[in-house]
Symmetry: D2
Subunit: 343 residues, 4 copies
Amino acid sequence: MVKVGIIGGTGYTGVELIRLLYMHPQAEIVAITSRTEAGRSLAEYFPNFAGLSDLEFTEPASTPFQFCDLIFFATPNGTAMKVVPELLSAGKKIIDLAADFRLNDAAVWQQWYGEEHACADLLNEAVYGLPEINRAKIKDAKLVANPGCYPTSVILGFLPLIEQGLVDPANLIADAKSGVSGAGRGAKIGSLHAEVSENFKAYGVDGHRHLPEIKQVLNAVGDNNVQLTFIPHLLPMNRGIHATLYANISSQDSTDLTQLYRDCFRKEPFVTVLDAGVHPETRAVRGTNRCILSVNRVSDRQIVVLSVIDNLVKGAAGQAVQNMNIMYDLPETTGLETVGLLP
Amino acid sequence: MVKVGIIGGTGYTGVELIRLLYMHPQAEIVAITSRTEAGRSLAEYFPNFAGLSDLEFTEPASTPFQFCDLIFFATPNGTAMKVVPELLSAGKKIIDLAADFRLNDAAVWQQWYGEEHACADLLNEAVYGLPEINRAKIKDAKLVANPGCYPTSVILGFLPLIEQGLVDPANLIADAKSGVSGAGRGAKIGSLHAEVSENFKAYGVDGHRHLPEIKQVLNAVGDNNVQLTFIPHLLPMNRGIHATLYANISSQDSTDLTQLYRDCFRKEPFVTVLDAGVHPETRAVRGTNRCILSVNRVSDRQIVVLSVIDNLVKGAAGQAVQNMNIMYDLPETTGLETVGLLP
Amino acid sequence: MVKVGIIGGTGYTGVELIRLLYMHPQAEIVAITSRTEAGRSLAEYFPNFAGLSDLEFTEPASTPFQFCDLIFFATPNGTAMKVVPELLSAGKKIIDLAADFRLNDAAVWQQWYGEEHACADLLNEAVYGLPEINRAKIKDAKLVANPGCYPTSVILGFLPLIEQGLVDPANLIADAKSGVSGAGRGAKIGSLHAEVSENFKAYGVDGHRHLPEIKQVLNAVGDNNVQLTFIPHLLPMNRGIHATLYANISSQDSTDLTQLYRDCFRKEPFVTVLDAGVHPETRAVRGTNRCILSVNRVSDRQIVVLSVIDNLVKGAAGQAVQNMNIMYDLPETTGLETVGLLP
Amino acid sequence: MVKVGIIGGTGYTGVELIRLLYMHPQAEIVAITSRTEAGRSLAEYFPNFAGLSDLEFTEPASTPFQFCDLIFFATPNGTAMKVVPELLSAGKKIIDLAADFRLNDAAVWQQWYGEEHACADLLNEAVYGLPEINRAKIKDAKLVANPGCYPTSVILGFLPLIEQGLVDPANLIADAKSGVSGAGRGAKIGSLHAEVSENFKAYGVDGHRHLPEIKQVLNAVGDNNVQLTFIPHLLPMNRGIHATLYANISSQDSTDLTQLYRDCFRKEPFVTVLDAGVHPETRAVRGTNRCILSVNRVSDRQIVVLSVIDNLVKGAAGQAVQNMNIMYDLPETTGLETVGLLP
């Protein structure tokens, strides 16, 4: 039984993490902290726990982290980096669901996140927690940087093509669409129902923080020559990311791309490759840790990959649990063997 | 391990039942029939099963029911009654998720469902599968009539008041609101996204089939003197029923109603009673077999009960699994211990 | 040409009022104030005006109200009452879309709105701006209290029954459902898309500010003996209110209720009465100043009235324009002759 | 006053056309035909007309087309072509909102629409009704092929770049997203609320009928060398198209693209170009005939154009009315001067 603490459990990533760990047969939630909601019961704050749980939010300062093996951070960016060194020193393992440890380069981090990194020396120690790439490293990691939601969907979608060097890395496009839970539970006008529903728009056309993260990973997989255009869009729904990925292949190439993808992900418990011409749907993965893909050659030169995940699960809390399972030698699918909720 | 067959698995009730049974540790799905989709794979038809299941829909006639202990009917009304007698004779147990065996009186059935009942003699043998009322009978039943979705939410909401005779039974009102999955997966204009979303309306103000079902059960609980006004409404969402129930109490009565409800449902694993003044939300029970209630005295005379369920789970497939668990002496919550998906 | 100023134009009521006045052939918007957005262009703030309008938000203090005939307040409750006396003294006419002048009794106002009323002496001078009741008074009014959204739908729905004394006034129920734009454009967690969509709940079961407003008006129409249970609910959609109204009639009464309603509203340009058994839909009135009703006798004693409006139009900005038209002797439908946007 | 007939008025394009023409000051609807709904009143069929209109659907055969100047077809593809020759002979003008006359080449038409064209000789007489390209021809046209919804948004978005030859025409990508009303009002499972809401997916990755239409128009504008990848997606909402367009520009080019677009559309009453970096939203154009664009240079080589329309208005019925206005020498914006409904 892994004893876990959750720092910052009042957002959507937090409540999903609590939900998954609550149902996990090998994990026990020892503490959930929240500065603003300390003293309040989880069941009152999140009504899906009404009648189920006696947990209460606690002040970070008075939280008995000494009883925890593993600490999850479900905090805003810039919070974990101020506390992690101390917790590591105390022998705790850490999974950070925010962006503090995702980039290797402190200068790049500062450029995109707007403040100096508080423990730049840990950036190279942290393991980027995408099991499909880094499973072996995650196993021994003390500090896991859980990937961003968009990066998870985009990297898994491009991975076989970049690994095999089949496409022009200088002309990649990721047209990505996310449900609004990806924007968090902060009280922002832009996330109101009356702003989001019956509406659709792009955002971040001038640049988005997930771009350097995706490029860093794809560059490491390939030959450090990735040029990516990444345009995120806001979907009028709660959960789900759909990435539509465009790449140019040599028109002489005749690889069976679906077979290539199936070979690449053969041993992956959470990645499914559909036949070409079949369209993955976000609802198929709702509430699950799965990624569903199809890869389509739509003309001589043009490949289109369709990739869906649940941004709160494979894109956040579920992937964090998958990482926990790996770190503690549990079967990787423990607590994650659910079928998507449809409709 | 209970071996189950599902007749009619292509609707929303069907896919939810398959989902729950697929994840159930003590059940095995042997066969799923569909006349229209025979030969097609479940994973292709319902994308949430892509990569998970090899099941195929089969023709009813060529389906090996001999290997099944229990048959679920997730068919339209009027289908099960034509086949059930034969299956009962063959020693199978039956849970019908449609309305064929919910009413005791064949004449009333015919009045509301528009055709003669095909096996009226079984109406009194069938057990109405609401465990909170009929647990003991369900245990020994061969044929369970799984309750309707609206009836489940309305009956549980009124139950303690009627049992205790605290309110005027001649002036009950149920203003009920349901997500559109309750209308089924038939291709009807009225269920189109562009008809349902950003819209709200009542329907069935002239009478709805669930009215006689509710009255029959409440009359049996009380003194056969229930007069109920039942107005259903269509919500612009997929899952969830919210019943707002109105009853008049003697103004001298000073019962602690919340305590009464908690006493009544003390042993029920799927019913939670909130404090008065707290508002149950449908999302709190999404994907779960739970009913959450609050009971509120809003004036000297007027009681307002708020009751929420997931129409596809406690209102259909989940309750059917709960009934299966009871019939097969399994812990009643087996396979149903999930936390609501929020958001 | 009526020259109008709008105080507080950054909410949903504000933008709808601007939209309607922008398209109104006899009104000219001279100024729109906003403390927080002063200096910002309307077209940048509300993208539906991009390319259409050069208006800018201005500071209230530097706004040339001297060029305005009529001032609309689309401000939060408690704002108008602090400014209105001065503007009235300056000879301006006022329509307040907030609640400051809706209640006659300053003590009741204070009880529900939590502060002392700043100009209680004006409460009896203000005219409640529901044209179907107060058209003659509105014509000569200097200060119009534009009705609340729920009150508009509920009062119009009960009006003929109360006027004619046909129902028991001591046992009225209004089960009302509103789209989330009724909660305003404030950045509140409870109004987030991920909280509202795929969810439904009641609120205010302990009491809602619109209750005293409805009772005051119905008491004035009837015999001051109204007892009303009013339960509001939040719909997962943006626009529209549906009130389901329950009343008890003497079972001997045989009035043709639909005819009664049609007679009552015969001259009303914005009220339509459907046949009994037909269900009004909120989308039928989306973007319009209309109220659509049906009245149904569902049993010997029980009447159910169904009433729909667009909460931002007939429930707010449209009714304000209707009041303006009356005050300035314009045809009452000027600028309001639109057909509902469907789908 | 233009006297118009509408053939096939029971779909979403039909009801929007009726709505716009009903409010149009210079048009009068003489007849609306429907084989299936003949004899039924418009007000009963489409509740937004309740209390407003006495029109009834009529049988095509018994419809007095002799009193019409102009006939709109809002029928499924393949219907108009069987009737248009006769109506043209009778001196009627025609605007077809379906696809029958959009392609010049009968063989290509047959390939994409699956049947032989019934009047291929008219294909070259028909004018493609995109006023921003063909205004002069539309003025004198007898037969206008109203453009498809996707083509309108994509063509307007690429137009200045192709006209000026600024981008590589062999590597264009249109990642387009449409609300579900674009799929029509047919009773299809794929358009059900419970299939569409809280879901997102691509479709037609193997090819979509709007691809040859877009290519034909862009080829005519440019040098007949357009290679376009067009991937449509289904949005969980009713109205609106957002096209995200990708093109490669020579990295030496330093044209001010926003200025180029503004110059190109300077005289267009329905096209607005936002500043680079600003994101058009579909709700800004809801219910309007407008197209809002921004053009963004996101890297040395990559241009991203964002383009939004309301698929039922500028993408269908509104553009048809715009074409009517042009054909009858009315001010082009007559009946179309509305502000988007927000929220």
